[in-house]
């Protein structure tokens, strides 16, 4: 039987589209997320907001904790490894994780190289600030892309900036003359065939989600209208007053992202949103990790 693992892994991302992937730290939270309509959960020891507060080195989660979450839910389970830490990725593959997020939220393990993701059978999702980063990650074997945003802040401004930048660059390449593609490939430091794909299809070759700072149904709708194919919500849910209600509202906002009347109803009485910190108040910009 011939099979293309990479294609199957891209296909799983296609099944997640139009959905919300939620950060959870316990089996109990995972069950709440699944019941609220999450299409997948991200299992991690500390949500990004707490990583920020705690400081220090943050690493891959305890496999036992991840297995507890795998047993608690029937939807796909994603876990994070540090940028460049292929041994952590090997461990996550060994416990049959559904997706690995090579993530700037954790402390980078390699300041030059990302993981060679073509060596793995399980799929990877990676963060990107712009099209060049996205295509470099895809070239390394990422089967799904998300904006980096600025995790753990509850401030959507960076996710918006990254998504707008990606879409603008896609439009630029889409309308470029064929002969200009070689130079664009050089400028973005990516192989020519990926640039050619974007030129012909006017989109990324893989599914593209929004992540980093999404905290409300309106944030989720904003990102979907800007071209995201789904949304990651990290600290925004379990750092808020009423996680169940907020999670369910964000799920519905992603499905009905153009229906302002419904979005108004969904935004009512959600309790306190995550307090958040503004971009200018942050000392550590996680988005700058890994270019």
């Amino acid at each position: 039987m011939s099979e293309n693992r990479y294609e199957l892994n891209e296909n799983l991302a296609q099944m997640l589209k139009g959905g919300v992937i939620m950060d959870v730290t316990t089996p109990e939270q995972a069950r709440i997320a699944e019941a609220a309509g999450a299409c997948a959960v991200m299992a991690l020891e500390r949500i990004p907001a707490d990583n920020r507060a705690a400081g220090g080195v943050s690493r891959m989660s305890d496999p036992k904790m991840i297995k507890g979450i795998q047993d608690a839910v029937s939807i796909p389970v994603i876990a994070k490894c540090r940028i460049g830490h292929f041994a952590e990725a090997q461990i996550l593959e060994a416990i049959e994780i559904d997706y690995i997020d090579e993530s700037e939220v954790l402390s980078p393990a390699d300041d030059k190289y990302h993981i060679d993701k073509t060596k793995f059978k399980v799929p990877f999702v990676c963060g990107a600030k712009d099209l060049g980063e996205a295509l470099r990650r895809i070239n390394e074997g990422a089967a799904m892309i998300r904006t980096k945003g600025e995790p753990g802040t509850g401030d959507v401004v960076q996710a918006v900036r990254h998504m707008r930048l990606m879409q603008a660059e896609i439009r630029r390449i889409g309308s470029a003359a064929e002969g200009e593609l070689f130079d664009i490939a050089k400028e973005l430091r990516v192989p020519y065939d990926l640039v050619q794909y974007v030129h012909e299809n006017k989109k990324l070759p893989v599914v593209n989600f929004a992540a980093g700072g999404v905290a409300t149904p309106a944030d989720a709708a904003l990102m979907m209208q800007l071209g995201a194919e789904g949304v990651f919500v990290g600290s925004g849910i379990f750092k808020s007053g009423n996680p169940e209600k907020r999670a369910a509202a964000i799920v519905k906002a992603v499905t009905n992202f153009t229906d302002a009347k419904l979005l108004a109803e969904l935004s009512e009485d959600l309790g306190e949103a995550m307090v958040g910190i503004n971009e200018q108040e942050i000392e550590l910009l996680m988005a700058q990790r890994g270019e």
């Binding site: 039987m1 199957l8 296909n11 799983l12 139009g18 959905g19 299409c39 029937s74 796909p76 799920v251």
Partner: protein, 185 residues
């Protein structure tokens, strides 16, 4: 096209290659438009099922299917149409007399591609992503495809289901079969 969550755009593209028009159903109002068939796409059955119930779409769609609307469910769509899901207490539209098994091939590492015959057609590409299969069918259900002895495609009058994703390959066989169902075959 039920467009609550999942890979519905891929189905729309397949239909447009066949010259068939489609539109997306997200809310009850969308059912007011006229249509000849319904596709329930792959995605997560728990998400789509929950949104079906809470949007008030579940009962009207269930009634349309019982009244004979040609309906095609892939993967999660198969689960939503199943009367029984062996390893899940939940049921949703429950209009098709089959018992299915959710995530029957395990996690993502169990996802696979193969080619098998579908009805009388040889070598149809089949992509399985964290897929279910059908464990039991009633006498009124026609089995259309099996892989390693497991039922992966079946039809009961106006309802067609596949455990795999024909929308992910270029082959139009299954979508053509369904559009023929919609025009009364």
């Amino acid at each position: 096209m039920l467009a609550l969550q999942g890979a519905f755009i891929e189905h729309e593209e397949m239909l447009s290659k066949l010259g068939v028009e489609s539109f997306e159903i997200r809310q009850k109002n969308d059912l007011l438009r006229s249509f000849d068939g319904l596709i329930i796409p792959g995605g997560e059955s728990t998400v789509q099922g929950k949104l079906l119930k809470e949007s008030g779409l579940l009962e009207p769609i269930r009634q349309l299917i019982l009244d004979g609307l040609p309906t095609f469910g892939t993967c999660a769509g198969l689960l939503l149409l199943s009367k029984r899901i062996e390893n899940d207490a939940r049921s949703y539209l429950a209009t098709m007399d089959i018992t299915s098994v959710r995530n029957a091939y395990g996690r993502q590492l169990g996802s696979f591609y193969t080619e098998e015959s579908f009805g009388s057609i040889d070598k149809v590409p089949m992509t399985f992503i964290r897929a279910p299969y059908i464990k039991e069918v009633s006498d009124s259900v026609e089995i259309l495809a099996t892989v390693d002895g497991k039922i992966v495609a079946a039809r009961q009058e106006n309802q067609l289901v596949t455990a795999f994703h024909p929308e992910l390959n270029d082959d139009l066989t299954i979508h053509r079969y369904f559009t023929n169902m919609c025009s009364g075959e």
